[in-house]
Amino acid sequence: MAGALKDFIILLIDVGPEMGDVPLSVGGAGGDDHTHLESALKIAQQIVFQKIFSGSKDEVGVVLFGTADTDNHLSADGGYQNISSVWDVTTPTTELAKYLKEKVKCGPAPADFIDAIVVAIDILVKVTSNKKKVGEKKIYLFTDASSGCSDDQIKEIIEGLKSKNIDLVIIGPTLPNSETEDDRNDDNDDSVPGPSHGRRPPAPHYKKTPAQEEGERVLSLLVSEGAGRSFSFHDAMNISSFISKNAKKQTTRFAGVLEIGPQLKIPCKIFTKSMHERPATWKKLSAISQSSANPGTMAINLERSYHLQDEDETEVDLSDTIKGYRYGRSLIPVSSEDDDNMKLSASKCLSLLGFTSRNKVRQELLVGSSVQVLIANPDSEPSAVSLSAIIRALYEMDMAGIARYVFRNNASPRLCALVPHIKPNYECLFVVQLPYMEDLRQFSFASLSHPKLEPSDEQLTAVDELINNMELDDDFNTKEIKNPLFQRTFQCLEHRSLNPDDPLPPLEPALERCLNPSPALLSQCSSSVLKVKKVFPLTRIDDKNKDKTAVTNVWKKSTDINLDAKDGAEGDDNDLPSSKRSKTDETDFSIASLAKGEVNEVGTVDPVGDYKKMIQNNSDTFDKATKQLEEVIFRLIKGSLGDVMYSKAMNCIRTMRAEAIQASAPAGFNEYLKRLKEELIGTRYSSFWDEMVKESLSLITSSECDKSNVSQELSDKFLSEDVDTVAPVDNKVEEEEDEDLLAMMD
């Protein structure tokens, strides 16, 4: 199988003096201040990490040219100078990436890249000569083509590359007659212009040297003769930054017969078609050991122990324990014999139960973690013919098979659908897992076809327009998009491996881009979005300000229907059991709240809950409950370690405020807030007040509640001003203060 083949790769890097120059960019997007060598090494590292992450066994070697020394097989007779094979062809590790990052520096002596290619070819031929499973042979040549070359051997080299099946990838200058015409201008900006004579001293130059021009001509020749491909540094960087995960090997999940009745048996095979892949799980290590002077294995061992639920948590030896299951309140011990008896034994099979209409297999009701593909056993012609007949018949009748599937002996039997799939070059049945009765959760939700929800024409048009303008074209296909978690994980691993002390790198913009709607689509739909916003009133309820009950009530009043708003994620007051489902949910709320039981005091554990229960059960307790809640808030703030309890206290205040508005009793709350402010400002709890300001949790205004005489302006002022300059909140107080002032002036 193809997976077993290994690729062999030489990274052939020019380290001649010009590679150390910084290309002078003229404004272009590709304008960064990396030298050619830095860009080359970055791409080379990415290639190495690609190999590491994909888990391939491909082997990579490194040859530098332009080094001070010479170290290669061909240099014995005096040629091929300044070319060094620095890394033997092996399966790469992070060591190689680190070597490329840290050890490769510009050398003093330019070397002929044609010679270098010859050395690389020689190495590849040598290492692959005895190997059987050779996949691709590749040379990545990184050069700015400025080091000069002699083209006397060029024919032989082209011939050599072709005959040895070696793929030459040139990364460097944009070649005059290369295919990327469009990029040419940009890349010419990148390439280093310089004075014609300035080749030896690595000074900036502004025009291509003759040597460089000659070099590019030779490289172009290689490309045009079909012996190589070329990319600019910039393009190569983009291509190599997306890492492909190695494709999963195709393994047979099931090889056996498809049974239709006791007689008809069709030999078949099943493979996995789709399954969600995730990055490898993170392993744990002991930070204590890691930070010690001499870390050993750093491994973490798990020690499991069993304890009685008494005061001392007396440990019980494993041999003194027995497996058991809950049966209501009873605990039923189960011997290993019983335990075996509880297991269903099933033998491997794929047996058909019958056929059903295709639309009974609903994608939204599938379970399991994969889709598998069933084909006839490729080595049996009769099975191919018989399965083909079944697939075609199902396809034409728009039906699907239902089968019991046990993929190996004693695996759990699964209920599966066999859905026909026909492509020009093959036919198969998709095997998808269907839910059992136990897997379906029959929740009901309030109807959305209520008269109160009947949309206006305006609303319908707005939504329709949005759908029109947000139509995806066929270019957007999620199955072409790489899982960003892989890319991100690889990016972080690579970065951490090369820079152990750095924080995580930022998310790559390219990665973020493919996760969001295209800017084109967004601008196309912006007017429809505005329209929808205009005709549908939507109010975001602050996360922290979620007051479910109040919201439900408000909602109930406005539309008089129940919309499942109250079954909180905490699940303390929700739903009726399934037996009640048929009835309209109108009564849910009252029953639920009534059923909560009596609460007579607001505690600090769940003050909001307690408070609500108290005031719900009995409106007479409103004042009492509010008083208690006020106390609790003070206690929470003052008892808080740092600001840990602040959010809880803040919640209480929010609830109290909402309830005060609900009950049309703003005065008590406003008074309380004033007292609270006085208590807090200038003490070490004033940071809580700052939080209040941040949340703009202020007095109840007249716009929120008729009975309030506080204007919005006053409310704002109340928050922003310090306690001693606090604006009086009602006229009487104002007068008194005025008098005081006058008195003082006297």
């Binding site: 030999p267 050991s289 009685l308 209501g328 009765m437 916003k533 909602w555």
Partner: protein, 609 residues
């Protein structure tokens, strides 16, 4: 979970692995308890054989009670159930009311309670009932209701639903006593006002609901005069269902962004998930007490107990490569791609959905007013338009903080009701998870497989017609779970044998033969050559000549004598194949077993290298 090398190396099958995202959705979650009192009339009339059904009404009631307990134990073990008799001669209740006997106070169902009822049923003709409880017609329904009300309010449970099932065959218990009638009605009204529902389970065809009970039982169904035929309800009560019941609960309440600054609120629900067998617990062998399991993490090097903050995370790069280490916080940050919610990418025709673009079970969304008020209106219009235009909304979905994004298709579903106005499918969008490029494997399938002729296809259609049925998941129980519960039930109730299980996933060969035997025969004649044995070992098809030649060459090569010794001296034994290594070892009389490295070591040892 598979380890790093496995995931890189490929080929690991993570079929049985539980999706980490779904753990919160799994069973075991239960916050609210339902309370149910089975209130049974045991006055003498209940022990008189019903002429139509030939059954004793009281027996039917106890069977129902047993069935309710058996079902509750599995479906919702935390629910509280009580059994109360009225019309007894003895009394057992906290207020010492006459003729009211609490047989089982409100509590979680358990084995002894079920056994108590079973013992009662075993007593032929209820001989001992008279002695144990006695009969009387002098009860007061008001007292009975009072008792139930007290039980329900003192149970201490935070219950969401309180219910009384009243079993009787006497349609007018206080016929001659208007005062008792009045009291009963008043108390019944109290119950209703306290949110306690009374459901009447009346027995016997002559039972006249209007004579008395109409005013006792306040029906939610509206007019209060329509009393459904109880036989259906009895059947429901007697049906054994061994399935865990899960309460509806939103996995998340998040926003759904349709465009810049245009968000509505949705709740995400789980409507289908594979149910696993319940997990076991450890008991003390001597006392059957439940044990707590503690897991300590110990540092191998220092032996110290590790706190969560003492743990770092790493992956190994490459085989035998270095450990690249991260803090826990960094792992979280690494998975952070933005705030939770759905982000609309665009709409596309529903017809573009593909069956094989499936990676995990779907979720369901419904508008949520607690996140954004006004959501319901926009949601319902969006749903309506998506249904009629047959489009799906493709979105980016981030379920929680620090969970990686995934693309989903929101597939609209219209509300569907059955004949009795019970909701079959709720209105909302199904959230179908779409695969990333890594999730779809390109398979190397043989092309040019022989195709069936029209005639053969027609024969296949015959079989399909004969064997077609209307598939419904609801009619298939998971045999693994059913087996587990049946054996557990038998162990708990000390039954000799568990109730027999019918595995509905096993095809009924006789039925299939009866319905389609002939069609199958004809099909087989049309597609299989004479004497075709599908279960015979299939030999590989003859490979094409070129690969055959290569195979021959390969064979020839291995036949060549290999100079193992000189290769060993070069230190390149690794390049030889295992058979060659083994052959050599055998030839020198050494044990030839183990992995490649073992073989190489053995050779080197033999040669003294």
């Amino acid at each position: 979970m598979s380890d790093w090398s496995g995931a890189w190396g490929g080929g690991d099958w993570r079929d049985e692995e539980e999706d980490e995202d779904e753990q919160q959705a799994g069973p075991g979650y239960s916050a609210t308890k339902d309370c149910l009192i089975l209130l049974i009339d045991v006055s003498l009339g209940m022990f008189v054989k019903d002429e139509e059904t030939k059954g004793i009404p009281f027996e039917l009631c106890i069977k129902c009670a047993r069935s309710v307990l058996l079902n509750k134990v599995i479906s919702s073990e935390k629910d509280l159930v009580g059994v109360v008799f009225f019309g007894t001669n003895k009394e057992n209740n906290p207020s010492d009311f006459k003729h009211v006997y609490i047989l089982q106070d409100l509590d979680m169902p358990d084995a002894p309670r079920i056994k108590e009822l079973e013992t009662m049923l075993e007593d032929e003709g209820f001989q001992t009932f008279e002695k144990d409880y006695g009969h009387s017609n002098d009860f007061s329904l008001s007292d009975v209701f009072w008792t139930c009300s007290t039980m329900l309010s003192t149970s201490g449970a935070k219950s969401s639903h309180r219910r009384i099932l009243l079993f009787t065959n006497n349609d007018h218990p206080h016929q001659s006593n208007p005062a008792l009638q009045r009291q009963a009605k008043t108390k019944a009204k109290d119950l209703a006002e306290n949110g306690i529902e009374v459901e009447l389970m009346h027995i016997g065809s002559g039972f006249n609901v209007t004579s008395f009970y109409q005013e006792i039982v306040f029906s939610d169904d509206g007019d209060g005069t329509s009393f459904p035929d109880p036989s259906e309800k009895f059947e429901e009560l007697l049906t054994r269902v061994r399935s865990k019941e899960l309460k509806k609960r939103a996995l998340q309440r998040i926003t759904f962004s349709l465009g810049p600054d245009l968000e509505l609120g949705v709740g995400v629900y789980c409507m289908v998930r594979e149910t696993k067998k319940p997990s076991f617990i450890r008991l003390d062998k001597r006392t059957n007490e439940e044990l707590k399991t503690q897991t300590k993490k110990l540092c191998e090097d220092t032996g110290s107990i590790l706190l969560p903050t003492d743990i770092k995370y790493y992956q190994v790069l490459g085989a035998g490569g270095e450990k690249v280490i991260f803090e826990e916080e960094e792992i979280k940050e690494l998975k952070n791609f933005g705030k939770p919610g759905f982000t609309l990418m665009g709409f596309r025709p529903k017809s573009k959905m593909k069956m094989h673009h499936y990676i995990k079970p779907a979720n369901f969304i419904y508008p949520d007013e607690t996140t954004v008020s006004g959501s319901t209106k926009l949601f319902s219009v969006l749903l309506r338009r998506c249904i009629s235009r047959e489009v799906v909304a493709v979105c980016k979905y981030i379920p929680r903080n620090n969970s990686p994004p995934i693309f989903v298709a929101l597939v609209p579903q219209e509300e569907e009701l059955d004949d009795s106005n019970i909701q079959i499918s709720p209105p909302g969008f199904h959230v179908i998870f779409l695969p990333f490029s890594e999730d779809i494997r390109s398979l190397d399938l043989p092309d040019e497989m022989p195709k069936a002729s029209h005639e053969q296809i027609d024969k296949a259609k015959e079989i399909i017609k004969k064997l077609s049925f209307n598939f419904q998941s609801e009619s298939f129980e998971n045999p693994v779970i059913q087996k587990h519960y049946r054996v557990l039930e038998a162990l708990a109730l000390e039954h000799e044998e568990e109730e027999e299980i019918t595995d509905l996933t096993v095809p009924d060969a006789a039925q299939i033969n009866k319905r389609a035997g002939k069609a199958i025969d004809e099909f087989m004649k049309a597609v299989f050559p004479d004497g075709f044995d599908p279960e015979a070992k299939i030999t590989k098809r003859k490979a094409s000549t070129s690969t055959a030649a290569a195979g021959a060459a390969k064979k020839a090569k291995t036949d060549e004598p290999v100079d193992v010794e000189s290769i060993a001296k070069n230190g390149t034994l690794g390049k030889l194949t295992n058979p060659v290594l083994k052959e050599y070892l055998k030839s020198v009389g050494k044990k030839a077993a183990g992995r490649k490295q073992d073989l190489i070591d053995a050779i080197n040892e033999h040669l003294g290298l």
